[in-house]
Amino acid sequence: MASVLEIQNLQVSYRSREGILSSALAGVSFDLMPGEIIGVLGESGSGKSTLAVSLVRLLPRNGEIIRGAVHFEGQDLLRATPDELQQIRGRCISLIFQEPSLALHPTLRAGEQVRQVLAAHSAPGKSALNERTRQVFAQLFPEDADRISRSYPHQLSGGQRQRVLIAQAIACGPSVVIADEPTASLDSATQMELLAVFRTLRERMGLAMIFITHNPALLSGFADRVLVLYGGQVVECGPAATVLASPRHPYTKALFQSIPAIFEERGSGRKTKLPVILGDSARSSLPRGGCPFEPRCTERMSVCREREPSLVNLSASHEVSCFKYES
C-alpha cells in the first residue's frame, strides 16, 4: 500500500535573534500508511511539535526548513503554493496544536471557530453547516455540546479547550491528523473516549494519525507504530507493541522507567525517588559529534562520542539508532 505521508530527511532549524541557526530536527524520515496511527514519544524539547508544524509548513517566523521533503499524495508539501496548501490544510491534513489557550481565537465562540473550519472547505448551506458543527460537538462533548459551542475559549476548562481543538481538526474528515499532545489535559475517562473517537474515524474513513504524547501507556493498544525522538532525531521506531513492551534504545528504556508505578509496586515504592535520566536535556543547539544521547547514556561506549549512530534494523519494522545494535 502506498503511504499517505512520506517524510524524507526533514531538517528544521530555528534562527535566534542573533541570526544563529540551531537545529531542531536533524533529518527525520518516516512514512505514514493510510489508517495507520504512529505514536511519537520523545523528551520535552526534542522537536516533536516542530515536526508536527513543519509537516504543514506552519513554522514560526524564525523557523526554517533546511531541507527534506514531505510528500502527501504525491505532492511535495514543502514546495506547494500557498493556495494548494490552504486546500490541503484542515481538509486533508489537519493539525491539533499543543497549546489550546494559544491556538483558539479569544473572541470567537467555540462553535463559530469550528464552523469556520467547515466553511473554509465546503460550501453547503448555512443550516447544513450548523448541523455539521453540532454533530462534531456532540461527538466530542456528549454532555454539554450546546453550552460549549456557545462559550468563548476563556470560559472553557483546559480539557474542553483541547477538545475544541480536536473538533476543529476532525471537522472536515481529514485523511491525516497530526495531533500534538491532544489529550494532555484530559482525564483518563475522557482520554479513552477520545481515543475511541479516533479509532472510529480510522475505521470509518481510514484516518491516519501522527499522535504525539508523553504518556506511553496511551499508545498501547492504540498506536500501530511508535516513533521515539531524541534531540531532533529518530532514535527508535517500531511496532507499538514491541517498542512499549521491550524498548531497545537506552533513552526509551530510561524514559519508561521514570513512570511512577501505581499498580505494580504499590505501597513500597511510594516514598522512593523516581528514577530519572540524569543530565541536561536540551543542549541540542550545541554542535556535537557523536550520538546525541551519549552524554546521558548509562550504556555509553567509546564509539558513541566519535560518530553519530544510524538507524539499525532490528526486525523488518523495528529500527533503533544505537551502536549497541550495530553488527
Partner: protein, 349 residues
C-alpha cells in the same frame, strides 16, 4: 536582524533631519525673517550644471530670476550670467544652538540670493524658514503629543484597570473635556495673558495646554485596550506574585497599549504642528515674523496661493519625511517588540 536595522535606519534618518533643523542657522542660507520686498513669491531657483551655452560647470550654479516681459508675476531665468553656489561662506548672523554666534553658512550665492524653495509673500526665503520653522514646530509637536499621551495613558489606564466608579468618573470627565468649547477658553486665556508675553512662551504654554486638553481621545483608546489586557493570564500571574497595581500597569499593561500609543503619537505630532494655525488665529500661535511650519502651511489655505504659487506646497512635502520618520520609528519599535511573536506574513513562507 532586519528589524533592528530598520530601527537604526530610521534613527539615523531622523537624526540627520533633526540635526539640520537644530543647526538651522548653518544650513539655512539666510535670516528667516529678512524680507526681500523686491521679490515676493519668487519661484524656486533651479540648480544647474550645464549653462545656456552648453558648458559644463564643476560647481552648481543658479540663474537669477527676472520678470517675464509683459507679465507681473511670471518669472524667467536670466541666462546671461551664471551665479555659482558658494559653500561655507559668510552671511547673516545667527546663533548656533541658541548661543554660538556665527556667520558661517553651508551654502549661498555671492551676487545673488539663492532661493531653493522660492520666497513667500514678503520675499523671505522659504528654505530658511522651513529649517528654522522646524525648531519651533517640532518641539511644539513633540511636546504637545508627549503631554497628551502621558496624561491620556495614565487616565485611560487607571479607568480601564480599576474599572467601576473610577472608570465611570474618568470617562465622564473625558467626555466633558471633549465637549467643552475650548475655543472660548482660549479666547479668554488670550485676554488674560499679557500681550507682552514672549510670543514663543505663549505658544509653548498653549501647546502644553492643548496637549493637556487633548488627552481624552488617547485615554479612551487606552482604556479599551487595558480593559481587555488586564484579564490576560500573565497579568493575573504577576498579580499572584504580589505585584502592585502600579507595577502591573507599568510593566505588563503599558506594553500592551504600545501599538495604540505609538499610532496616536504618529498622528498627534503632525496634528499639533498644524494646530498652530488655529492658534495663530487666536493670537496664540507663533507670531510673524518667526517662522513655524504652521504658518508656512497656512498659505495653502488660500485659493490664490494654492493655484498660483505651486512652490508653497514644497514645505509640506519637506515635512513628510519627518512624520514618516516618526511613523517608521514607531512601527519598527513595535516590530521590535513583536520579533518574538510568531510569523507575521502568515500566508506562505
Amino acid at each position: 536582524m532586519r528589524v533592528r536595522r530598520t530601527f537604526a535606519k530610521w534613527l539615523v534618518v531622523l537624526g540627520v533631519l533633526h540635526g539640520m533643523v537644530v543647526c538651522a542657522g548653518f544650513f539655512a542660507p539666510y535670516d528667516p525673517v529678512e524680507q526681500d520686498r523686491q521679490s515676493p513669491y519668487l519661484p524656486p531657483m533651479r540648480l544647474h550644471l550645464l549653462d545656456a551655452h552648453g558648458h559644463l560647470h564643476v560647481r552648481p550654479f543658479v540663474y537669477a530670476l527676472r520678470l517675464r516681459e509683459s507679465s507681473f508675476d511670471q518669472f524667467e531665468e536670466d541666462t546671461t550670467e551664471p551665479h555659482p553656489v558658494k559653500f561655507f561662506l559668510r552671511g547673516a548672523r545667527y546663533r548656533l544652538l541658541g548661543f554660538l554666534p556665527l556667520r558661517m553658512h553651508f551654502f549661498g550665492g555671492e551676487n545673488t540670493r539663492i532661493y531653493l524653495l522660492g520666497t513667500d509673500a514678503y520675499g523671505r526665503d522659504q528654505f530658511s524658514r522651513l529649517l528654522f520653522g522646524g525648531q519651533v514646530s517640532l518641539f511644539a509637536g513633540l511636546l504637545g503629543a508627549g503631554v497628551t499621551l502621558f496624561i491620556g495613558w495614565s487616565i485611560g489606564a487607571v479607568a480601564g484597570y480599576y474599572g467601576g466608579w473610577r472608570d465611570s468618573l474618568l470617562m465622564r470627565v473625558a467626555e466633558l473635556f471633549l465637549a467643552l468649547p475650548w475655543l472660548y477658553l482660549l479666547f479668554a486665556l488670550r485676554a488674560f495673558l499679557p500681550l507682552a508675553v514672549s510670543p514663543l512662551e505663549a505658544f509653548f504654554l498653549i501647546t502644553a495646554v492643548l496637549g493637556a486638553v487633548g488627552w481624552a481621545r488617547p485615554a479612551r483608546l487606552v482604556r479599551g485596550v487595558v480593559l481587555s489586557a488586564k484579564e490576560r493570564d500573565f497579568v493575573r500571574a504577576a498579580r499572584g506574585f504580589g505585584a502592585s497595581n502600579g507595577y502591573l500597569l507599568r510593566r505588563h499593561i503599558l506594553p500592551e497599549t504600545s501599538s495604540v500609543l505609538l499610532t496616536q503619537a504618529a498622528i498627534l505630532i503632525p496634528q499639533y504642528v498644524l494646530a498652530e494655525m488655529t492658534l495663530s488665529f487666536l493670537g496664540l500661535g507663533v507670531p510673524e515674523p518667526v517662522p513655524s511650519w504652521g504658518n508656512l502651511l497656512s498659505g495653502l489655505q488660500q485659493y490664490s496661493v494654492l493655484v498660483s504659487y505651486w512652490w508653497m506646497y514644497l514645505p509640506a512635502l519637506a515635512m513628510v519625511p519627518f512624520f514618516l520618520g516618526y511613523l517608521g520609528l514607531a512601527s519598527s519599535f513595535e516590530e521590535r517588540g513583536a520579533v518574538y511573536k510568531i510569523e507575521s506574513r502568515i500566508w506562505g513562507m
